[in-house]
Symmetry: C2
Subunit: 306 residues, 2 copies
């Protein structure tokens, strides 16, 4: 198996790292992962963290050729890969890659992220740009708005392989910090996946979509509803999720409804975003995040050898 591996694709995020062996014909020869994401590593620990994940698979390969996307290229990561500037031609990702020092049997490159320096709209991404390059392969000729829901949701305006501009919404992280650290935790302390979650999500989504400008106020509804109407943790968790997703999308109505919005993310989260987009009269299509990044890493490597 491992003798067929031609190179190794790596998605190195904040909380974990995933690696795929790629054969000469483009097929996946193995996949492996570890929880040694950027958030848990000091700079000098990266070579060992990479070796641990791939070494059993890399035996017998003369040169271990590794292409990495994501947070390993951040300033606080392994080796900083300076951002490309948006608008950016994503075929240029490989040319912007950096090579950390490794024993000579390794050839490791880390792709850059993309930044946007426009005053008032400064922004950064690392990893999503490679997913977007993947999307340009998965939906050839796509031109329009792409949404990548998650801890920090990204909304990108893409035209083929050209990334025009993008925005970030801290939706997933807001959910987590409010659930764990705010007064709302008292209302979210219980079974979050009970039968009330659906009703809570629906009401929160409606509030967020119709009044994204009142988010700081509507958040407190979670607490008031549990105190006054005895709403349980499941309803409250659903409301908070719906309110945050609704506020994210409700503030970007101009980006929804013109054409199908590709959603790159986990199936569960993409299903919630699809509901929100459909409620505004739009439509969405889910693309698996792993497929997008793997396709993007393959595309980046191809452009490299051109």
């Amino acid at each position: 198996m491992s003798s067929q591996t031609s190179w190794i694709a790596v998605d190195w995020g904040t909380s974990n790292l995933r690696a795929w062996g790629i054969g000469r014909d483009g097929s996946t020869t193995f996949s492996a992962s570890s929880e040694k994401g950027m958030g848990r590593l000091e700079r000098e620990q990266y070579p060992a963290a990479l070796s641990e994940v791939i070494e059993a698979r890399a035996n017998g390969i003369e040169t271990v050729d590794v292409l990495i996307a994501g947070m390993a290229g951040a300033r606080q990561g392994w080796l900083e890969a300076p951002y490309l500037d948006a608008p950016a031609d994503l075929r240029g990702l490989s040319a912007g890659a950096v090579s950390p020092s490794m024993p000579k049997e390794f050839r490791v490159r880390i792709l850059p992220g993309v930044c946007q320096k426009s005053p008032g709209a400064e922004n950064v991404m690392r990893g999503e740009e490679t997913q977007l390059l993947g999307l340009s392969r998965l939906i050839p000729g796509f031109s329009g708005v792409v949404c990548m829901p998650g801890t920090h949701s990204k909304w990108a305006v893409l035209d083929g392989v050209r990334l025009e501009s993008f925005a970030t919404a801290m939706t997933g992280e807001l959910y987590e910090v409010l659930r764990q650290h705010s007064v709302l935790r008292h209302s979210l302390n219980g079974n979050l996946d009970g039968p009330g979650r659906e009703e809570g999500f629906r009401e929160g989504l409606e509030a967020g979509l119709s009044h994204p400008d009142l988010l700081t106020g509507n958040l407190f509804t979670v607490r008031a509803a549990s105190l006054l109407s005895g709403k349980e943790a499941d309803w409250c968790g659903g409301y908070l999720s719906g309110l945050l997703i609704g506020s994210e999308i409700g503030g970007r109505k101009e980006w929804v409804g013109k054409q199908e919005v590709p959603l790159i993310g986990s199936p569960g989260l993409c299903a919630l975003y699809t509901r929100a987009i459909e409620q505004l009269g739009g439509s969405a299509r889910t693309i698996d995040a792993s497929e997008a990044i793997l396709t993007g890493l393959k595309a980046a490597r191809e452009f490299d050898s051109h």
Copy 2:
């Protein structure tokens, strides 16, 4: 001194408790405080926490008459004082007070909070209703919108002693949880009060006032600006503060500009809210929070004896 004390007014919040001795002529005979707020107390610890603060002052008083406003009356406090329903006549606060059991030389009453049960606008307050009753004395005949900035900012529509409706914005708490627990903490780790704070506040305020609907997105600007433009913690802290206050007020533009908005809170925070309101063409007037609650407690006691 203590022999002149007629009764004791107490503001018992989540993080501390403050007590004032009141003489027969309404003057303050002493003031004392402790950090034994609701958040730090079990139910059975309230009597001792109260005694500790007032006992040195209460010697020689035959009946220690204590009137309490705030979180001591919450379900998780000393003894639940069921909410009045908004719209509410604040002269009815005393009639809704509850009496926890105490030795017979004490007469202790806890004022209720106010709730709002309207579907989609459920809300609760405890303590602010007493400040609002105080405001009705401090600005006789006032009718309009009052803002009480803080951890959970309250906006109330008041007509004399009648509380028509109210809303909450989790502005102060959002600042704290984002500063301490989100990815933004990396950008806020340093001197928050440096010279860049003013510029950051101004830019954040502008973004929040003009686009309260994009709050989840603009939050990430803090991170991007520190990564791309080398903004320091002072700028980032100012931006976050301005963005959150701007978003709170920007979503309520219909409440600002018609007439002077009384602000009940700390002078520093009220100064920031005043800037935001003035930027929308309105005007504001700061009322000290302690003066408001003390005046409110006195008024509640007077209505009680009528």
